[in-house]
């Protein structure tokens, strides 16, 4: 019923890595977006959002991700989603947002 975000800067890959734990939902998504963009703004690189501990996402969470994606694209940076759980992968399927994001950690990679 809440969200914690672990943030690591991966020096080797030169990317921000975010590990949201819990739920990116109406109650947490704007804080999540803010946190990701703050880190991005402090050091502009590609970013990875790892879904290993992400249990739930709703449309406001998708909106936050889209908004992040657009901000990064303006500066020609990429956003990767990795290790999404099946239930969350399903939401990306349904909404066809799997075409908008680079999804890693799957057969397709």
């Amino acid at each position: 019923m809440s969200l914690l975000v672990e943030v690591i800067f991966d020096e080797k890959e030169n990317k921000w890595m975010f590990f949201p734990k819990g739920e990116i939902d109406i109650y947490t998504s704007s804080k999540f977006k803010e946190e990701v963009l703050n880190h991005f703004n402090s050091n502009q690189t590609d970013i990875i959002i790892d879904g290993t501990h992400l249990n739930y996402i709703d449309s406001t969470g998708l909106g936050a991700l889209i908004s992040i994606l657009k901000k990064l694209r303006e500066k020609d940076f990429k956003i990767y989603l990795s290790n999404l759980k099946t239930n969350i992968r399903k939401i990306f399927d349904i909404t066809e947002l799997d075409k908008l994001f680079i999804i890693r950690g799957e057969d397709s990679e």
Partner: protein
């Protein structure tokens, strides 16, 4: 056939939506729905509540669960199908409706809100 009715009413506040998801999961679980179906219901009811939060004119969101042997019907007050053109989050709200329509077996809009139905399948696995 017996129909059981559970009603839930929450303040129209983001912080209560996880409570709705929890209660809905509990109901779905007790109906012996499988994990995927419970998840579908949880996600759909979350989206219905977000919609209601945006568009309802009431101060509360009212939910009714009608439980019988073959299906679970959930109505959520204040949910609107037609999303105003000028809204910033128009596409986001449309994603919400798309998710509900994809995950539930039947979706009906009426003047009060939305009715969403999930049928209980006899899983032959």
């Amino acid at each position: 056939m017996n129909k059981d009715i559970v009603k839930l009413q929450i303040p129209k506040e983001p912080s209560y939506i996880s409570l709705v998801r929890l209660t809905a999961s509990g109901i779905a679980y007790s109906m012996a729905l499988n994990i995927d179906e419970i998840e579908d219901i949880k996600v759909s009811i979350g989206e219905a509540c977000i919609n209601s939060l945006n568009f309802s004119e009431e101060d509360e969101i009212s939910l009714t669960f009608i439980i019988d042997e073959e299906k679970l019907s959930i109505t959520v007050s204040g949910v609107k199908e037609n999303i105003p053109e000028e809204l910033d989050e128009k596409r986001e709200r449309e994603l919400g409706l798309l998710i509900i329509k994809s995950l539930m077996d039947e979706v009906v809009f009426n003047e009060k809100g939305i009715e969403m139905i999930k049928y209980i399948e006899d899983d032959i696995q």
